[in-house]
């Protein structure tokens, strides 16, 4: 949708004509025309280079996430261990990016202080506009990082919701399991008792080993119950741990958000500073004017007084 008309060609023609009018020689004109085609890029400052590398790393993170998103969300594709490893990598990466952004932010402040020099005069390269621009760059970076981390948090929330859903039915099944087992064992005991009572009538001589078997069965049931109880506790523990972890995950993105908000605050201040510089210049010039005018007035006043004193002295 090329709605805009590119007038650069017209501009180049106009430039050539202007050069001819000004009487430049051929080589100069050729140099100027060449500079249009091959735009000579200036040396980028350290700050911009660092910002661009951070941007690259955030972009790489985004690509990584999008590549593994399908695997991560779908329940059956990869194992839990792989998911954990993905999470770990992403967390490490996010921390690294966050540190880079912090470094950039601090470098702005350091440069501000260092370049004050003596007499508090700022050097040319760090005026209010440049500082506001740097703050803006850092703000954009942190906003981008925040959006990537919130994407990741959403994925993690989905994963944990699935996991919790998987745990709770298992718990219900397990609860039914032990009750069924218990009822079956009690059923068995009853049937065994019935059979025992039946066989007791028949064979009294075999009473001893049967009672021994009963006790053995009792012990078994008891052991089963204990085991199931411990399993229940373990499951509850995992559940609480997962809830904690999801809460902590949210913290991750909120930390990035906090950082973004801090940077935004600095940015707003820097932009205001650019306005204040202009206002400050106006006030300074007004003050200088007033100063000079008051000085002239004072001189005039004193000289008039002196001359009047001399005059009176001469007169009388």
């Amino acid at each position: 949708m090329t709605k805009a008309r590119d007038r650069t060609e017209d501009f180049k023609d106009a430039a050539r004509r202007a050069a001819l009018n000004l009487g430049y020689d051929e080589s100069k004109i050729a140099a100027i025309m060449a500079s249009f085609i091959m735009h000579k890029s200036l040396e980028r400052s350290m700050f911009t280079k660092a910002a661009l590398t951070t941007l690259e790393s955030i972009r790489a993170l985004e690509q990584f996430l999008s590549k593994h998103k399908k695997d991560y969300v779908d329940v059956h594709r990869i194992t839990e261990k792989e998911r954990d490893s993905i999470e770990h990598e992403v967390t490490v990466f996010i921390k690294a990016c966050k540190e880079q952004i912090d470094v950039l932010k601090n470098s702005i402040n350091d440069e501000e202080e260092n370049s004050k020099g003596w007499l508090g005069i700022r050097s040319d390269s760090s005026n209010a506009d440049t500082i506001a621009h740097k703050h803006g760059v850092v703000l954009i970076l942190s906003e981008k990082l925040h959006s990537v981390t919130s994407q990741f948090d959403q994925l993690r929330a989905v994963r944990f919701r699935d996991a919790i859903n998987r745990v709770t039915p298992r718990r219900k099944v397990k609860q039914k399991g032990p009750t069924v087992a218990e009822s079956s064992t009690s059923g068995n005991i009853e049937s065994r008792e019935v059979s025992n009572s039946e066989t007791r009538q028949t064979e009294d001589g075999q009473a001893e080993p049967i009672r021994f078997q009963q006790r053995h069965l009792d012990d078994e049931t008891h052991a089963l119950q204990v085991e199931l109880g411990t399993m229940l506790d373990a499951v509850q523990d995992t559940e609480t741990k997962m809830v904690e972890m999801s809460a902590l995950n949210h913290l991750m993105s909120t930390h990035v958000l906090q950082q973004a908000q801090q940077i935004e605050f600095l940015y707003e201040q820097a932009v205001e500073a650019t306005n204040n510089v202009v206002l400050g210049n106006k006030e300074l010039s007004q003050a200088i004017q007033r100063n000079s005018s008051s000085r002239t007035f004072l001189l005039l006043f004193l000289s008039v007084l002196t001359f009047s004193v001399l005059f009176l002295d001469w007169y009388s």
Binding site: R5, A18, H39, L52, E62, D129
Partner: protein
């Protein structure tokens, strides 16, 4: 394909902010020029502000944004995007910035086409200061109009009505104004990428605009890689929209009358400008609200009458309170802060001012419908409470609505106005026009004079058009003449009202203009209605109502040279009255105050 002007303009602007490269290159090349600075002038600031918010700017990599007039400091190794009007001062500014080497590279975007001489000035200037290699690109954006809503745009030409109807205006000035209007319309059409069929009434500025625009389009279509390369060269009338041009004098009453619906009321009373509203709060500060399509209450209730709006507000507030209580119940949290919503703040102000406006609006619509008003009622209203401007508007509406008024009544009205300390220049102006019309009825010829006769002809035609406009009383179902005419033009059936309208078709070859003119009269699905001299929200809303009622729903975009409130328009009339030397000198305490 529905034409959504706002969306297209936003896309163009976003593309410009991305240095006119394709937007959305995923990952891809590490674009070195990601962080840019945006520099604009005041006119372009008005263009940008309804469309893009500051936060969105950051999404496209803009870190700072400045006015071009501000003193700026160098920010090295950063490309700068300039969005300016092509005027000589702006070009000088660019040259100054380039010589000071403020930024690494300059991407210049002009809101309309930059003429050759200015381009050469730019080249010479930068060549002299040896900074020409900093300018990397120059583009014409064709975006010189302000889009307020999806289908509403304005050219932001101030005082256009005054300049066009000024009896002392020379030909040159009128030509300039017409050029500016045509330039703005050309930008709108370029952004929409359509070549419409143009229809306009005979005589008056509308015809001049139409013929010049037709000429411009024809010339442009002849150049290769023009901006309108879409679907073949013989698109049927079903796909091309119709552009209807109108004069303000066609229907003067709409610009003056009090309307009691929500949107026009907010515009009139509170001064809505560029979708932004500044109201004084109780504590004495100013609060600013943004009212555009992202505000659901505004979009849903904009066209309702004001008492209904008050009911809606109550309903919404109750719903909000209930929701808050429910949330509190569920979370058991602490008391949520229930500060007044935007709705409450807005409408409190309106309610204070709205009590008397209700009367005015009712009486005026009665007047228009019945064609007259009882004399006592009229004087009663003029002597009663109400702001001076409101009374003046009421009196002018009275003049326009009745055909012949006995001079005694006019005298009575004038004395009443003078008692109320109202500046009567506007009243006198309309009176004069109305009276002149009687004697100039014969001079209402539709001849096409040459350029020399323009000023005189314009003056005469404007009076003729005012008469015609005065006859356009509202019919019973409260439809404006503009709406009826646009409807008739879109239908394309023969209709005595519109048969005298001229027709221009830039795509048709010049020779066959007479014979193939009939082909392009078929029914149109889309229309662009443009009012020369000032428009307002009332017309916009009535046009939208019209198209929503039709089956299948059609689409109309409404545009004007300037969006004026009733007060502003009456001030322009007053200015004209004073230029003609009519009207009393206003008393010292005379300007309207709310």
């Amino acid at each position: 394909m529905a034409l959504n002007l706002r969306q297209k303009q936003t896309e163009c602007i976003i593309k410009m902010l991305n240095l006119n490269q394709a937007v959305g290159t995923v990952g891809g090349t590490a674009n070195e020029e990601v962080y840019k600075i945006l520099i604009y002038d005041r006119f372009c600031q008005d263009i940008l502000s309804p469309l893009i918010h500051v936060k969105d700017l950051r999404k496209h990599g803009i870190t700072l944004y400045f006015l071009v007039d501000k003193d700026r400091n160098p920010v090295l190794d950063v490309p700068a995007v300039y969005f300016l009007q092509p005027t000589p001062q702006n070009v000088q500014r660019i040259v100054a910035d380039a010589s000071r080497a403020l930024y690494d590279s300059f991407h210049l975007n002009f809101s309309s086409s930059i003429p050759r001489p200015l381009l050469e000035d730019l080249a010479t200037g930068t060549m002299n200061s040896d900074s020409i290699q900093r300018i990397s690109k120059v583009h014409d954006q064709y975006l010189e109009f302000v889009t307020l809503e999806d289908n509403l745009f304005s050219l932001a030409n101030k005082n256009c009505y005054v300049q066009l109807n000024d009896p002392s205006a020379g030909d040159k000035e009128i030509e300039e104004i017409i050029e500016k209007i045509v330039g703005g319309l050309f930008c709108v059409l370029a952004t929409l990428a359509v070549v419409p069929v143009i229809r306009c009434p005979r005589g008056g500025p509308a015809e001049m605009v139409a013929s010049l625009l037709d000429q411009r389009l024809r010339d442009h279509l002849l150049t290769k890689n023009n901006l309108f390369t879409e679907g073949g060269n013989f698109a049927s009338s079903f796909q091309r929209p119709i552009l209807c041009l109108f004069d303000r004098n066609f229907e003067l009453s709409v610009a003056i009358q009090h309307d009691f619906r929500y949107k026009p009321l907010v515009h009139d009373v509170l001064g809505l400008r560029l979708n932004r509203l500044n109201v004084k709060v109780e504590k004495g500060g100013m609060k600013s609200y943004e009212l555009d399509r992202t505000d659901p209450f505004w979009t849903a209730n904009g066209s309702l009458e004001f008492p209904r709006v008050a009911e809606e507000i109550d309903a919404q507030l109750n719903k909000y309170k209930k929701d808050v209580e429910e949330v509190n119940r569920r979370t058991g949290g602490d008391e949520a802060q229930f500060d007044g919503t935007d709705l409450v703040g807005n409408t409190k102000h309106l309610m204070n001012a709205g009590r008397t406006l209700n009367e005015f609006a009712e009486k005026e619509s009665e007047m228009m419908v019945r064609g007259g008003i009882d004399r006592n009622e009229l004087l009663g209203v003029l002597k009663g409470k109400g702001d001076k401007m409101d009374k003046l508007r009421f009196a002018i509406m009275f003049l326009i609505s009745t055909e012949t008024i006995p001079p005694s009544e006019i005298e009575a009205v004038e004395t009443a106005l003078r008692e109320a300390e109202v500046d009567t220049s506007a009243f006198q102006y309309v009176k004069k026009i109305k009276s002149l019309n009687v004697s100039l009825a014969s001079a209402n010829s539709a001849s096409r004079g040459n350029i020399v006769d323009w000023a005189e002809k314009l003056y005469g035609q404007s009076i003729g058009a005012v008469t015609a406009g005065m006859k356009n009383l509202l019919s019973n179902d409260h439809q404006l003449a503009l709406t009826r005419t646009v409807d008739a033009l879109m239908e394309g059936k023969p209709n005595p009202d519109i048969d005298s309208y001229l027709i221009f078709d830039p795509r048709a070859p010049k020779s066959s203009m007479g014979s193939s003119g009939s082909q392009m009269k078929g029914p149109f699905k889309e229309a662009i209605a443009f009012m020369v001299g000032g428009g307002n929200y009332v017309e916009y809303m009535s046009l939208q109502e019209l198209v929503h009622r039709q089956q299948p729903p059609k689409h109309v975009i409404y545009g004007t040279t300037e969006i004026l409130t009733g007060d502003e328009f009456v001030e322009q009339l007053a200015l004209l009255g004073r230029k003609m030397g009519l009207g009393s000198v206003p008393p010292i305490a005379g300007s309207s105050s709310r």
